[in-house]
């Protein structure tokens, strides 16, 4: 069974269909990337290299923009992308964060 899926042919992200542990290797064609941290089911990884400012494409639609250079296989989340509409609010160990849009 595949452990990642590309939801739309033009997407530049893949969605994980199971939990990945730190130390596991993600294979994208010739690229092998060993994970430094665990990544959960439902999270996204880059399907290719993505430059800052480039749109993140999922479901065939833009879901925000990259805020940092992203390598193939790298986890894509709040640390390297942002909304083009509204800030994202998160709680981390009791601390509140407002990630800007």
């Amino acid at each position: 069974m595949l452990s990642t899926i590309r939801l739309f042919p033009t997407d530049n992200v893949l969605v994980l269909t199971r939990n990945f542990q730190a130390g596991e290797t993600i294979e994208l064609g010739d690229i092998h990337r060993t994970l430094q941290t665990p990544i959960g089911l439902g999270h996204k990884i880059a399907a290719c290299a993505i430059s800052p400012g480039e749109k993140i494409q999922k479901y065939g639609a833009p879901i925000g923009s990259a805020t940092a250079p992203i390598e193939p296989g790298e986890h894509i989340h709040l640390h390297n992308m942002k909304s083009d509409y509204l800030p994202t609010f998160t709680l981390d160990e009791g601390r509140e964060f407002h990630h800007t849009a």
Partner: protein, 404 residues
């Protein structure tokens, strides 16, 4: 009219609508009457008596309209209103509106009944009578084209938009093809999808209305500085509002969009409708819907007989009035909270089923629930209910073009 029979035993109401449940609603009209109403309900909780209410003391047209729609919902057979006495809610107007539909309806005003204990005693006597009357409700067959189904997602994660939401979309496509009425909602969770959605509008004018409703939501949430996005969404792999939106949007399936409605508007014919839940005008009363149950109450006020609730992180809520079917998007959540879930859509991720198959499973569960089978949340006694303050402009004729 034709259409296959959904259930041989639905409850016929005077306006011709049919219910799949025959409950008594006990309604507090201000928070000050909540305890008394809850105590009246207590011995009858397992007998189809649901508690709902409005906390505010100030009158509000939206809240009144919502309450009138909910108290005259086809799943409701009788209503007991409980008022403190000095609050702003138009209790007489509501009582008369309910009685005009032929339903049993009674009003208790605590300040006129001698206080807490006396009102509880009087209320329980009235409830016992109402339950006896309801045993004689006329039952008739109900066709699938008389059914209204609403959908909502809550506790979404990165799996919601891949499994549960599109599976609900498949069920919606099948229901719409059978001329049932399907409602999706939360324009704030369509931010980023407006350009895609507009191509599905039944007319060009409706397309403009749909686009404007999402633009209104974007403005509203921008003013509040907070999207319809909770910390658990990010823990589950969703990063932005528009990513959450694309997943939420897939609940609508692929049918043409027949119209846009607002809370309390009841679609007059089969098709797919978008419920605009974001208030009109300036930001006045805070967040459009403070939680999932506020959205569920609005879907029910639009006539929904049953609610399809997609969850990834694992919401456990149900609702007063209409059964809630929990479609679980995440296979790990399903294993973690099996007692609260009705359908394991997450198995798609494990290669144990496809979207069409889960869509069919949802469709057949709706039929069983319409025939009386309790959903997981219903059997567990979940009857959450939330109603707040809002202001809306009425919809215009172009919002419902297929009707003309």
């Amino acid at each position: 009219m034709n259409g296959s029979i959904l259930t041989p035993k639905a409850y016929l109401r005077s306006d011709g609508r049919k219910g799949i449940r025959n409950i008594v609603s006990i309604v507090y009209l201000v928070e000050c009457a909540h305890h008394v109403a809850r105590e009246i309900q207590l011995p009858f909780r397992e007998q189809g008596v649901h508690l709902m209410g409005f906390s505010g003391c100030y009158p509000n047209e939206y809240s009144f309209r919502m309450m009138r729609s909910l108290c005259t919902h086809p799943n409701v057979g009788a209503v007991l209103l409980v008022s403190l006495g000095c609050e702003g809610f138009n209790r007489r107007g509501l009582l008369e509106a309910i009685r005009e539909t032929g339903r049993e309806a009674e009003l208790l005003v605590i300040q006129n009944e001698g206080g807490t204990r006396s009102t509880i005693q009087a209320g329980r006597e009235k409830l016992a009578c109402m339950l006896q009357v309801l045993e004689h409700t006329l039952c008739v067959a109900m066709r699938i084209d008389e059914l209204i189904v609403g959908t909502v997602c809550g506790g979404s994660d990165g799996t919601s938009g891949i499994t549960a939401n599109p599976a609900i979309g498949r069920a919606f496509d099948r229901l719409v093809s059978e001329n049932a009425c399907c409602i999706f909602e939360e324009t704030g969770e369509l931010i980023g999808c407006e350009h895609i959605m507009v191509s599905r509008a039944a007319t060009r004018e409706l397309g403009h209305i749909l686009t404007n409703s999402v633009a209104k939501a974007a403005r509203y949430y921008a003013t509040l500085g907070h999207g319809s996005f909770a910390p658990g969404n990010a823990d589950g792999g969703l990063t932005t509002q528009e990513e959450k939106s694309m997943g939420a949007y897939s609940k609508s399936g692929s049918s043409p969009i027949s119209g846009l409605i607002k809370p309390g508007d009841i679609p007059r014919m089969g098709g797919l409708y978008l419920l605009d839940v974001v208030p009109d005008g300036d930001v006045r009363f805070g967040f459009p819907n403070i939680n999932d149950n506020a959205e569920i109450a609005e879907l029910i006020a639009c006539g929904s007989h049953v609610i399809l609730f997609a969850t990834g992180r694992g919401s456990v809520v149900g609702s007063a009035i209409s059964p809630v079917i929990k479609v679980c998007a995440n296979p790990e959540t399903f294993r973690n909270l099996p007692e609260d879930m009705d359908i394991n859509a997450g198995r798609i991720l494990e290669g144990l089923g496809g979207l069409d198959e889960v869509g069919d499973e949802i469709h057949s569960l709706i039929a069983r629930v319409a025939n009386g089978q309790p959903t997981a949340s219903e059997a567990l006694g979940h009857q959450e209910f939330v109603l707040g303050y809002k202001s809306f402009e009425p919809i215009g004729p172009t919002c419902h073009p297929t009707y003309q």
